[in-house]
């Protein structure tokens, strides 16, 4: 550290390098992503209070108004759609729905994957073979196709849809948790805890699970955007979230007809989708580099 050559007073130099050090461990892009995700979370939780209008409130006198910087008014900051409904309110409501589905599905998928993976690793034998066959099955078919088939046969009520999305990505989590649990069992600290007399649940709950948690968390940051993309894709096709509920995907689907006349109808929800998945992926990459450089 050059203290003589810069010519700046000492406290200023110190704060500059402290700032530099801060930005080194928290890159600005990651900070912005975290900020966006926080905003999304707050929006989803407080949707009811943030919406200026009811999301299904129709106002035929104010149809297809552009957003505020493109000729519209502050009354409808992001414009209105073909039925006069306020786009901002619909986007807020859609964020709530889409994030709800994403959180619930990711939770189900992670739980399913971790439990099945650990069961396979603990019992080995035929249980492990069954789990491996299931993993193979899930991994060999593109999930979009399976989802479409299930939606065709079962229809799409919201709880069913969330359960279906909950099957996305469980096989990757199961593979990871199985191989990590086998490694911990072979490594010795889990075996030693068993030898000490600890029950299996204690060994897995207090020893193995905390040790594999960081890898599982990184995996969650891969599953979550995948669910968001899948759900928005299905909703875009009209097969996911059904009206009157608004999801980011189906807003883009409805806005498609007005691509030329009212592009903001599909650009606003699209922008939200892209920013959200981009932020999670970025944060996930950064977390992985910090927590667990061993996985690629």
């Amino acid at each position: 550290m050059n203290t003589l050559s810069t010519g700046l007073p000492a406290p200023f130099r110190q704060s500059r390098s402290r700032l530099a050090a801060f930005f080194k461990s928290w890159p600005p892009l990651v900070l912005m992503s975290l900020g966006w995700l926080l905003l999304m979370l707050v929006t989803a939780v407080c949707a009811q209070w943030l919406m200026p209008y009811e999301f299904s409130q129709i106002d035929l006198r104010a149809r297809l108004q552009p957003p505020v910087l493109f000729g519209g008014t502050w009354a409808h900051a992001l414009g209105t759609d073909e039925l006069g409904r306020d786009v901002l309110s619909r986007v807020v409501s859609a964020i709530q729905i889409s994030l709800l589905i994403a959180f619930a599905s990711t939770a189900i998928s992670t739980l399913l994957g971790v439990v099945l993976g650990m069961l396979a690793a603990h019992f080995r034998g035929w249980i492990e073979n069954v789990v491996l066959v299931l993993i193979d099955f899930q991994a060999s078919m593109p999930f979009m196709i399976i989802a479409l088939a299930v939606l065709a046969f079962f229809g799409n009520s919201l709880p069913l849809f969330i359960c279906l999305m909950g099957f996305y990505g469980w096989e990757r989590t199961a593979r990871i948790s199985r191989s990590l649990t086998i490694a911990s069992n072979e490594q010795g600290y889990a075996a030693a805890a068993h030898d000490l007399g600890a029950s299996a649940s204690r060994v897995y709950g207090r020893h193995v699970l905390p040790n594999i948690a960081s890898t599982i968390i990184v995996n969650i940051t891969v599953t979550f955007p995948g669910v968001v993309l899948l759900e928005s894709g299905l909703s875009f096709l009209g097969l996911g979230v059904q009206p009157p509920m608004a999801s980011l995907g189906n807003m883009v689907g409805y806005g498609r007809e007005y691509l030329q006349s009212a592009p903001w109808l599909l650009l606003c929800p699209s922008a939200v989708i892209v920013m959200t998945t981009f932020s999670i992926s970025l944060v996930g990459d950064w977390l992985r580099d910090r927590l667990d450089p061993s996985i690629s």
Binding site: Q187, G188, Y189, A191, A192, A193, H194, D195, L196, G197, A198, S199, R202, H207, P210, N211
Partner: protein, 324 residues
């Protein structure tokens, strides 16, 4: 105290092994341990020595009921020891514990030293939470770990310090039997001496029966009251260390003892070199397991497996050449 703490009779552990090539070979048997019998007295140490792969660690795990045996009986204080992990098995853990070769891998890397030692108390719900902490601290002091190190994680401790933590964790429940599986092999030589002294002190303090497994004959000679030499899963010679090392009866023991480097022997000492292939527990030789490498092998060694004979002085040997 005549009743042995741990008694093992005709213990065997065989594994069915699928051969490497395809589905056509017949399944083979890996005989890790065959017909092993010994006993450990309270307050005394039995050493198990032998080369890598002779079945020492398997025997240790079998004696504690950590692995299922193929045949044989194990009794701890008169009670049979099973390997089924039920409530009775878990209760037995309070009286018999194990110390391992690599202390780093058997410690949860996310727990500091004090928490590792409290763990067994939590598992068996001994006393109240506050008292557990105090007991753990007392135990760590007893094994000689400095209080400034109690909050450190395993990777922040040296090898000798980690082994002390493992010892403390094993002894906190006040077991009566301690099985040490090569506890000092992974440590620096200077630390080995400290840990050996610690083990002897602890044994005296708590009247522990110890089963001490090692491939290092010098240490075994120092710490053990009785030594058993293993080869290919069998005990070939057993006896008090002074007698065993001074006048080894079995040809294998003779070869081992001649390999110990000492200054006392002078230049005329000839090391006995063993010829032949290293032992393979899958493809056991007929008759005496040692005969392919034995410098004193005769024709009958290929036919008959020797039985364990008792010699004066409390020694036991399994060799056709030694007559009682």
């Amino acid at each position: 105290m005549n009743a042995p703490l741990l008694e093992v009779r005709s213990l065997a552990r065989h594994y069915r092994v699928r051969p490497q090539r395809g589905l056509l070979g017949r399944p083979l048997t890996l005989k890790a341990v065959s017909d092993v019998s010994f006993s450990v007295q309270a307050g005394k140490t039995l050493g198990l020595v032998g080369e890598s792969g002779c079945g020492k660690s398997t025997t240790a795990r079998l004696s504690l009921g950590l692995t299922a045996s193929t045949s044989g009986q194990i009794h701890f204080e008169g009670q049979p020891v099973s390997s089924r992990r039920d409530a009775r098995w878990r209760e037995m853990r309070r009286h018999m514990q194990m110390v391992y070769q690599d202390p780093l891998s058997v410690l949860d890397k996310r727990l500091p030293a004090l928490a590792q030692v409290i763990e067994p108390l939590d598992i068996f719900k001994v006393g109240v939470a506050g008292a557990r902490r105090a007991s753990a601290q007392a135990m760590l002091s007893e094994v000689g770990l400095n209080p400034s190190l109690w909050h450190r994680y395993p990777h922040e401790l040296s090898g000798g310090q980690r082994q002390r933590v493992v010892l403390a964790r094993a002894l906190i429940l006040k077991p009566r039997l301690l099985v040490c599986d090569e506890p000092i092999s992974a440590l620096d030589v200077s630390i080995q001496a400290q840990v050996i002294n610690l083990l002897q002190d602890l044994q005296r303090q708590h009247r522990l029966g110890m089963l001490f497994i090692s491939h290092d004959l010098k240490v075994v000679r120092q710490i053990c009251d009785e030594v058993a030499v293993m080869y290919l899963g069998r005990i070939v010679e057993q006896g008090p260390p002074q007698l065993l090392f001074a006048q080894p009866a079995h040809p294998y023991t003779q070869a081992l003892v001649s390999a110990i480097p000492t200054l006392a022997r002078g230049r005329d000492h000839r090391r006995i070199l063993l010829e032949g292939d290293p032992p393979n527990p899958i493809d056991m030789p007929s008759g005496c397991a040692f005969h392919p490498r034995c410098p004193q092998a005769r024709a009958e060694c290929r036919e008959r497996a020797p039985a364990m004979q008792t010699l004066p002085g409390g020694r036991k040997v399994a060799c056709l050449h030694v007559s009682s």
